[in-house]
Symmetry: C2
Subunit: 364 residues, 2 copies
Amino acid sequence: MVPFDYPARLRRARELMTARGVDALLLSVGADLPYFTGYRAMPLERLTMLVLPVDAPATLVLPAFEAPRVTPLPGVFSLEPWEETDDPLSLVAGLCRSARRLGVGDTTWSVFLLGLQSSLAGAEFSAASALVGELRRRKDAGEADLLRQAGAAADRVVARLDHTRFAGKTERELAAEIAAMVVAEGHESAAFSIVASGPNGASPHHEAGSRVISPGDAVVVDFGGRLHGYHSDITRTFFVGDPPARVRKVHAVVAAAQEAGVAASGPGVPAQEVDRAARRVIAAAGFGSHFTHRTGHGIGLEEHEAPYLVEGNAVPLEPGMAFSVEPGVYLPGEFGVRLEDIVLVTGGGVERLNGAPRHLHSVD
Amino acid sequence: MVPFDYPARLRRARELMTARGVDALLLSVGADLPYFTGYRAMPLERLTMLVLPVDAPATLVLPAFEAPRVTPLPGVFSLEPWEETDDPLSLVAGLCRSARRLGVGDTTWSVFLLGLQSSLAGAEFSAASALVGELRRRKDAGEADLLRQAGAAADRVVARLDHTRFAGKTERELAAEIAAMVVAEGHESAAFSIVASGPNGASPHHEAGSRVISPGDAVVVDFGGRLHGYHSDITRTFFVGDPPARVRKVHAVVAAAQEAGVAASGPGVPAQEVDRAARRVIAAAGFGSHFTHRTGHGIGLEEHEAPYLVEGNAVPLEPGMAFSVEPGVYLPGEFGVRLEDIVLVTGGGVERLNGAPRHLHSVD
């Protein structure tokens, strides 16, 4: 693991907490916990929660038998393991008796928040992302390097797909092959793989299913994995055989839109301008109503995180922000095309973290 | 997909809501949503939420571009798609303006609950599981059949592992192979694969890592997948080469404990008695302090759900409940052994849903 400077992160969090009058943060499943401790909890029913008071060392409350998975940092955070017959919520509540304003991790399960609200009846709860998000959205050099490595690993999977037979496989079989390649190329785990063939490609979040891929299909392939905690996310569109003019034309429009989105990205640019730049190209080509989602999302310890590249989000891009640029065109009953790369905002523009060829990939 | 009787499930939920004075349920990511609609939402930042009022048809609020993934059921639930620039929380709040008492799905993200609490300031929120859990914990014939199919698919993966080379692979590589086998044997997706070799086996939830498996290692292999929404979960312990007496002895103790747990299970038995039966065997053999977790968990649309087989849970088992029986012994610095099957409570006892041989599996 990269030795991130967790004490510095906690210090910056406490500075923000002081400024905003937040007495403690309660961070559970999801990305906040690894951001501050290096430990990612299993998203299961046994409570894991970091209690981070503004004025005292942090405590990680976790199932005793999962404690071997974590290395505490003396003076930074200690472990408070609970046994199977203990009540972990009362442990957490006991650690924040004097707190009046509590920030709760966005992805914390509601059943735990409800329990804490009931046992800490006088406290006021708000979303921790308002505070933690400000830190997490700017990646430091170590984080950028892991995103770079994850991007390169995803590129290698695309290279393998160019030599993979598509025809005759179900979407689900190909998705499983991709997941294995994602791990083989250096991710610690596969996060997801969308394989949307033929008319299924018109559903942007299609779930790989039992449809058998056939010659003449366009296939949207969107996958990612996690590498030392940081995610990759890439989309390329494949065609089984020689693509006809209509698919080539739509692909060229999407590729131009993606290029425009990347070109528009850079420090100081409002996030929504990236969306506008990509959308303008697609609209000008007459497919505006078929680009049905935002242009991108931030990426890091989560697959999707701030900043979101969407109309209405005027937050200015800053060096260190990493996000996807992924326009698409979805033609119901026909096919879909999407093209996605991750970019990292630099001092002068962006660095692309994916280099896999951006053409329409022809496969067997 | 199995055509579950969703209208009947909604009717039973409304009967309980009426009895308990709950005005509406708000169900998001996790298993409640597929239980009532057949649709499982992606666990991402775009809100998907079923608003289920006690006295009106249900509405599924979801991202517009994910709407093609769902088939609404006329008269049962309709779709309310939101566009990328809409505020989905205000849509949900608008649908429950008149509700005073709201039940929120346990795994709903806290950021959404906090938003709803703020816009529906007069309402009282509680955990939906108090109500929905009562329905979900008893599987009907269709659910039992899918759990049976998932168990058989997991058994086939174990059979393949008997002929798989372990030595020389990293835990992570073997875990990825297992995930691919889980899909190849009929699951729609792999849920997890724990591969804990040598001393790593002493950590029950060890995350498969870079350790290279070697001759002389005991290897705890615990994996599962999802089949038409329902989960498998099985653990077998392997040994690379010929196991020495100590490993064989510990394995025999765990196998006897597992058998005792299964034998103790049946209708009317308090859940904790299953735990006690398994624990007694391990304690009698002198390893009591090394069995550090509960004996099992319910399984269904979630990997882990009620009932939990743990000291302190006196809920009586009922026909239709499905759960794991998975005692283990964990010897720090040495190795671990765990053995897990899923059982289904019947009218007279339990049916085992896994038939893979329960011996210590010797591999190369």
